[in-house]
Amino acid sequence: MKVITRLALLVCLFARVCHGAGPLPEKPNPGEELFRAEQVSGHYGGQLTIGGRAEPKTFNPVVATDAVSREVIGRFMADLIEINRASQQTEPALAKSWKASPDGGVFMLQLRKGIRFSDGHPFDADDVLFSFAVYLDEKVDSPQRDLLIIDGKPITVTKIDRHTVRFVLPRPYAAAERLFDGIAMLPKHLLEKSYREGKFVEAWSLNTAPAGIAGLGPFRLKQSVPGDRVVLERNPYYWKADSRNQRLPYLDALTFLFVGTEDAQVMRFEAGATQMISRLSSENYTLLSRERNRSGAQLADLGPSLEYNFLLFNQNDLSTKKLDAIARKQKWFADLKFRQAVSAAIDREAIVRLVYQTRGTALWGNVPPGNKLWINANIPHPPQSLDTARRLLKSAGFSWNSAGQLLDSSGASVEFSVISSSSNTQRMKMATLIQDDLSHLGMQVQIVPLEFRALVDRVFQSFDYEASIMGLGGGDADPNPEMNVWTSQGTSHLWHLNEGQPATAWEREIDGLMQQQMITLDYTKRKQLYDRVQQMIAEELPFIFLATPNVLAAADARVGNFHPAILDPYTLWNADELYIRTPVESAGAR
């Protein structure tokens, strides 16, 4: 009998070793309300390594502001309601269902019963209340707090019972359920102490022991080696199951390897050291395409992203700054005809061809074509026209000297510099093309490559720049996150920050339209309001829109269920469904 027991133990141990390093998934309990992903199938085992351009700065979801931290945190934390990155629609997550009042002001959320954090502790309404108390706390200063404050008043959260929570919004808010995506639920049992002691901001740093961190995401923290890697292992209590009622995730472990640059990501991927790249430039995509026959890699071109790149002129109030040289040039920048002439002179098709190797789309408005739900298709797409540009400049009082240089009405030659991030080769290329385009109008443009932080400091703080090439967007398809760009009070109202009151009539109208769409619940009416906003932006050109790149991603041939999406985080949104194919399955897929 002893021999049999020992043999059985040995077999179990062998099976465990073969299975991999991660803990085995717990068998679903009868009382556990799992989310059943009916379309998903795969098998357990294997590890996935992803090359990252930088390492996370924190594991604390409440204070994380950078995309890298959020990408890692998002794999071990979960939200009440999530936006499905494939359908772009909301779907139940930790809340199994929700009901909104007819005016959209009250939301009643039913939480899943029987689900547990990755350390085995049960999750209930108290965790939800604790989480929202932290997110709304002014002292914690969470970036998500702004979303939860409407008209200066916070969303109120009330516990009805252990699995029911009521949210009351200060006023109706369109697509309010989308607010819950990105608000990760915190374990009260682990974080309450540090919150009460006023040390919440320091909690869950990169030095925190993995045992002190728990979430409701598909993975849990196993190891963090600063400057090198973060290793996540399977959360054995995860609340999603596949079509065969097997608890997800399939992968034993998910490793983020920090390699520094996109080029290093590509080299590691080619060498087989990593199995996935979330976002590729078109040059590297072309490079991997050439090797596809040999490597069998899965390459995905998902079409236009939600990111928009633009040329921005500094129209900030410089009266309190000692920037007289820039202030003089602002006379041109504030002239709509000048901006229209610049826009008309830019060859956007060349940007798409030369910068994105045709894997991009020219833009004339703030909503890229990837956002099918909200784009105003009636915005005109005028081709490049130097004649139109010259006519506009002439009507605005500009003239040309015998050498072909453009002069303003006071006889000063039109010269300005364009700053751009030196690490973003695509925007640097755009700058070179624009410099050449504008030289045909007699404008002398100097390109100034700047380190990204120096650029952000000039655009957001010191205003010591004349023009800049930047990019925004990529988060959600809904218009609400764009409020902070287009309303005059917005923190990303880049062409004129800290306006106080709208500086122009059209900005005042946009403020009104954006506020109106935010409280309009009917999609068609909201779309009409946002269409008008897009039309006004395209006419007034606070930004001169250039192009949007396609979302390009790559995965090793062995990665199953690889379904990248155009919304951030592009490839890892379904990390719980990813699995490693057997050689036979890989060959079949090829």
Binding site: V266, N284, T286, L287, R353, L354, Q435, D436, I447
Partner: protein
């Protein structure tokens, strides 16, 4: 003189004359973009059309096919000498539109291929050489002038002049010059025209390079001033200026000449390094450094080998200067024995 000497002198002359008349030899304006031809490979020169051979080379126009560029063999385009093209100033003085060679539109002859904007790499290497070599030569002059003067003063007057100046050279010699250059450049204003950037760049490179020639010159002056003819001049109450002008300077000039030939390639490399990191001359002006900066992208490095042409130009120039330095040094030794 031996044949080798003549070959070296000829190479130096050819190199510099080529760069001086870059506008004539280059078939295109270095900033002119051809947006239909990004990353086009070097144009192949043909001498055979079907079965017939031609003395005059011809090319085929490149068109974009499914798997990259292909030659459109329906129309051959002859390469013409003294072809009319874009306007430029020959030697910076004479307006002209005549180029050494070229082809009729719409074909493009790009001997070294094109870059990401379809700009002719051959023309850019020539024009870029003007900037890079001029930066090297001007910076060398800037370094040698204070270096020579301070070295002479330190060696001739000795005592506290020597000590304080040599302490200064030690400080400059122990500086990690690349990082120092990067730091200094970062403090300069951002909004600079290419001409002013070039001027500041050469000044910065030159001014921090004075220490080495200063120490060398000091050594020579120390040795020379103890020679009998200098002591005799002193005995006859010759002025310091007279001794420096007629007895010390002739000895120092030889060292400075050798130093010049060694410093030029070094300062070309300094300009290339700064421009490579985006701190030198900016677009659309070409310099070997900013042309090479596109190779920082992995996909460009492994896909478009022809964009390494400026690196080959740097190597050729450096080897030419190294041979020149070797020759100058051996001649100085010969003359001093």
């Amino acid at each position: 003189m031996r044949t080798k000497t003549w070959v070296i002198i000829a190479a130096v002359v050819v190199l510099h004359v080529t760069l001086l008349v870059a506008g004539f030899i280059a078939p295109y304006d270095p900033a002119a973009q051809n947006r239909e031809l990004p990353y086009a490979p070097p144009t192949r020169l043909h001498f055979r059309d079907g079965s017939a051979w031609h003395i005059r080379p011809f090319i085929y126009r490149l068109t974009m096919g499914r798997d990259g560029y292909v030659e459109d063999k329906s129309i051959p385009f002859s390469v013409h000498l003294f072809k009319n093209g874009s306007a430029y100033k020959l030697l910076g003085l004479f307006d002209t539109t005549t180029h050494l060679f070229g082809v009729d539109q719409p074909a493009t002859v790009a001997l070294f291929g094109t870059d990401a904007f379809g700009r002719d790499e051959f023309s850019r290497v020539l024009y870029g050489g003007q900037i890079s070599v001029a930066a090297g030569v001007v910076a060398t002059l800037i370094a040698l002038l204070p270096g020579g003067i301070l070295g002479i003063l330190a060696g001739y007057y000795k005592a506290w002049t020597d000590q304080s100046l040599m302490a200064g050279t030690e400080l400059f010699l122990c500086l990690p010059w690349l990082y120092f250059l990067l730091g200094v450049r970062a403090f300069l204003p951002l909004h600079l025209s290419p001409a002013r950037t070039f001027f500041l760049l050469t000044c910065v490179i030159g001014l921090i390079g004075w220490a080495r020639p200063a120490r060398l010159v000091r050594g020579i002056v120390l040795s020379t001033r103890s020679r009998n003819y200098v002591l005799a001049a002193n005995g006859f109450d010759a002025s310091d200026l007279h001794i420096l002008r007629y007895h010390i300077l002739p000895d120092v000039l030889g060292v400075l000449t050798t130093q010049a030939t060694l410093l030029v390639p070094r300062y070309i490399a300094a300009e290339v390094t700064l421009s490579f990191f985006g701190l030198g001359v900016n677009e659309p002006v070409a310099s070997w450094g900013n042309m090479l900066s596109s190779l920082q992208q992995y996909s460009v490095l492994v896909s478009y080998a022809w964009l390494s042409a400026p690196a080959a130009a740097v190597v050729v120039t450096s080897v030419t200067y190294a041979l020149l330095a070797d020759m100058v040094q051996s001649r100085l030794k010969f003359s001093s024995t």
